[in-house]
Amino acid sequence: MNDRMLKGVRGNMTTLKFDEDLCKTCPTGACLVKCQYIDVGKDEAKEEMLKIIKGEDSIVLDDCVTCYACEEYCKRGNHPFYLITQRREDKGILTAPRAITRQWINIGEPRGKYKLGEMKEKALSFGFMAQFLELVKGRLFEDVMPSYFFGQEYFCNVVYIHFANTSIIKERLPMVIDNIKKLGVKEVVFMHDECYAAFTSLAPAFGMEVPFKSVHYFEYLYNRLQELRDEIRPVGVKVAYQRPCSSRLCPDTHHYVEDIMKLIGVDLVDRTYQGENALCCGSIFRMMYGYELAHDVQRRNIDDMVAHGAEYCVFNCHGCQDALATEIAKRGIKPIHIVDLCRMAIGEEPETEGE
């Protein structure tokens, strides 16, 4: 790490900084009152937040399940989740079992196993998830493919806020930025919310300079679909959208789901667990807390999709899809990634054919 970057790491979370006064004068305590996993009233919510501000112990530090939703529930522009994370880290309060945390940190370690496509000025980023290579096919991506990159060297590391470990993010992110810079790309389309949030929100907050333009793939898809408008045949199905936790880190991109569905003639069902009320897919819960919470959340979520007549469940994140696809399919709902749904709309067949 060079000096400039070290300075960046030491610098304050400028935009993600928690403003105590703002919190103290909050009329609603929405961050915790609305929390779907901690049951507190308005007064208690404010009390607990004050404890956290003062560095005291709080039930929140023990019970927060890292769904990131409070970042959105707070309408006053404060950052309760980042504060909770910071305090947990300071106090050494683990969210996940040590072995799970270690495993995730190990997975993210660069080992020279990255993969690059034919790099152009504009490129797709898959984080370290190779499975995107199977997804980004057809005309939607012909503008940019085969310009892509993935691997631990290009992995945003934001997932570690689930593990109350921002220091590893601060340690690795400057190198990641540097690695992407070395690719000579000017514009990166991020296929995952966390990566997009990393370069548009966390990195600037940590004082790191991002020398390329970051585009969320929703925006990219929306624009491509506009270009291919004449070829769109309305898909005409009812879908439920599974909003991932990391979408809360870049809430400004969420509107694209509705925009895209409109564009491709898909009926987004109006269900209980959507938008701000979205439920976690449960995969993180399962690893961190075991059976009950994950099972309960998944059951309620899928029941809700069924009750509202969804024929498809549309995914944005592979993690959610892996966690829910099998159960959803058992209930008669087809799991599909949003990219595949868009491909269907322009007459492409997402599944690869045989002979």
């Binding site: 495993q103 190990n106 080992r111 399962r286 807390y289 075991g290 892996d322 058992k330």
Partner: protein, 460 residues
């Protein structure tokens, strides 16, 4: 042509006997690290009668005989240490009878696990047997002969505990039936309520007779299987975790592995938990109990269930797991060998530490793979090292490391599984002398001329 060659030709036909350099070269070796020794002949018989004749011929001429299945024990058990005749059993691979309601199968002595699995899948979808993770070519007879373990070992013990009867060709050439089949048409027990004579053959590596038929117990096959992996960074907690898991009686197989690569496996102990069910409800119920049993470890942040992706799940759910064989190519060299002593689960942490220490001392790539035997009654702990067959120095380092494992295993109360000749010698030395005397009496009475897989279970 020698008299022996002529006689063997008469017995099995000219196409199924060889004393050609090609066969002698190949059958002098197994894929492990033991030094080669050539047989004089290799035969591939088709019938029990042919085997009887071969044994009688060997008896008359005092020629050693080594029966062989797929030869995958890796510890040299089918290398003909004193030459003689290697009998490749794999042409005798018929499935003779399945009794569905009594849940047993009778197979010929060269029938492979893969073949039985395929046969049951197709014809008896509600029955299964305990499949080991050795390659699918491994034979059932050889596997029970070495007290192998398989997918049902946590529930029902060693695969040899699941034997329900044997037909054996004795060193004299006589056929002997072992178990209920000795006086009944039904093969439901290898011993009880009679004196259990199966012990005269199982675990003897062919030194007391050749298994020509095995009856094997079959077990209910549920429609679904699933797998979860519980990870912990505290090896000392593994015995407690196993105790809780086995208490649920909801688990099929339990394997524990730890290895440095790939990165996802670094630093942790992985308890792989298999479960089965006929319905989603049954499987979910078991899963709930299993998660519940480990809840205190999760709450204490001492362990958790990792996310197992679809690809990893498929790899783990395979029977046998082909990925086990792939360990041979980690160093791009087609070989691995392990020492797999049977010992108490509470020795787990010591074993992993020893393995890591030896891997570092000898600069080797390693993997630890333990399988729970019975409800935590003991385990097989595999100290496994991969090597490059084209790198003699690496092979030598693995030999040395495995020698140290052998010493260590005895110190911590372990008993060698499918021991090399050297480990057999160490075992005999440490064994209660009266036990060894009894073994000697058995061997001397059954095989007075010492023609059966000589070198095994004898003092040189």
């Amino acid at each position: 042509m020698s008299d022996i060659n002529r006689s063997l030709t008469e017995i099995v036909g000219e196409h199924y006997v060889s004393n050609q350099p090609e066969e002698l070269y190949f059958y002098a070796r197994d894929p492990g690290l033991m030094p080669p020794h050539k047989p004089d002949y290799v035969v591939v018989p088709k019938t029990v009668e042919e085997i009887q004749k071969i044994v009688r011929l060997a008896n008359q001429n005092k020629i050693p005989i080594v029966p062989m299945g797929a030869g995958m024990a890796l510890t040299g058990l089918v290398i003909p240490l004193r030459g003689g005749i290697v009998i490749d059993m794999k042409r005798m691979n018929k499935i003779i009878e399945v009794n569905e309601k009594a849940r047993y199968v009778i197979v010929e002595g060269g029938t492979s696990h893969g073949l039985l699995k395929s046969y049951l899948d197709k014809n008896y979808p509600r029955l299964r047997h305990s499949i080991p993770d050795s390659p699918a070519t491994a034979t059932i007879a050889a596997n029970v002969m070495i007290h192998g373990q398989g997918r049902l070992t946590q529930q029902y013990g060693f695969n040899s505990d699941m034997v329900a009867g044997l037909e054996v060709v004795l060193p004299s050439g006589d056929i002997c039936k072992i178990g209920s089949c000795s006086l009944s048409p039904d093969w439901f027990s290898k011993g009880a309520p009679l004196p259990d004579l199966s012990g005269l053959f199982l675990g003897w590596f062919g030194a007391t007779g050749i298994i020509t038929k095995v009856a094997l117990k079959l077990y209910p096959r549920k429609r679904m299987r699933d797998v979860e992996i519980f990870v912990t960074d505290r090896g000392n907690l593994v015995p407690d975790i196993i105790y809780e898991l086995t208490h649920t009686e909801m688990v099929e197989d339990i394997n524990i592995f730890t290895q440095p690569l790939p990165m996802i496996f670094k630093d942790n102990h992985h308890i792989t938990i298999f479960m089965t069910g006929d319905t989603d409800e049954e499987l979910e119920f078991k899963k709930k109990l299993i998660f519940g049993a480990l809840d205190r470890f999760i709450k204490g942040k001492d362990g958790g269930f990792m996310s197992v992706g679809l690809a990893m799940k498929q790899t783990l759910l395979e029977m046998p797991q082909r990925s086990v064989s792939r360990f041979a190519d980690v160093k791009k060299g087609g070989g691995f060998e392990y020492s797999g002593p049977i010992l108490l689960v509470e020795r787990y942490l010591g074993c992993t530490r020893k393995l890591v220490e030896l891997a570092s001392k000898y600069d080797l790539a390693y993997s630890a793979m333990a399988r729970i035997i019975g409800r935590g009654h003991c385990m097989m702990f595999g100290f496994s090292f991969t090597f490059n067959r084209a790198d003699p120095d690496m092979m030598d380092r693995v030999r040395k490391a495995l020698q140290e494992v052998s010493d260590y295993a005895l110190v911590v109360g372990g008993v060698f599984w499918k021991p090399t000749i050297e480990e057999q010698r160490m075992a005999i030395e440490k064994m209660d002398p009266n036990t060894w005397n009894l073994m000697k009496m058995i061997k001397k009475n059954l095989d007075p001329d010492g023609i059966m897989n000589p070198g095994n279970w004898e003092v040189a």
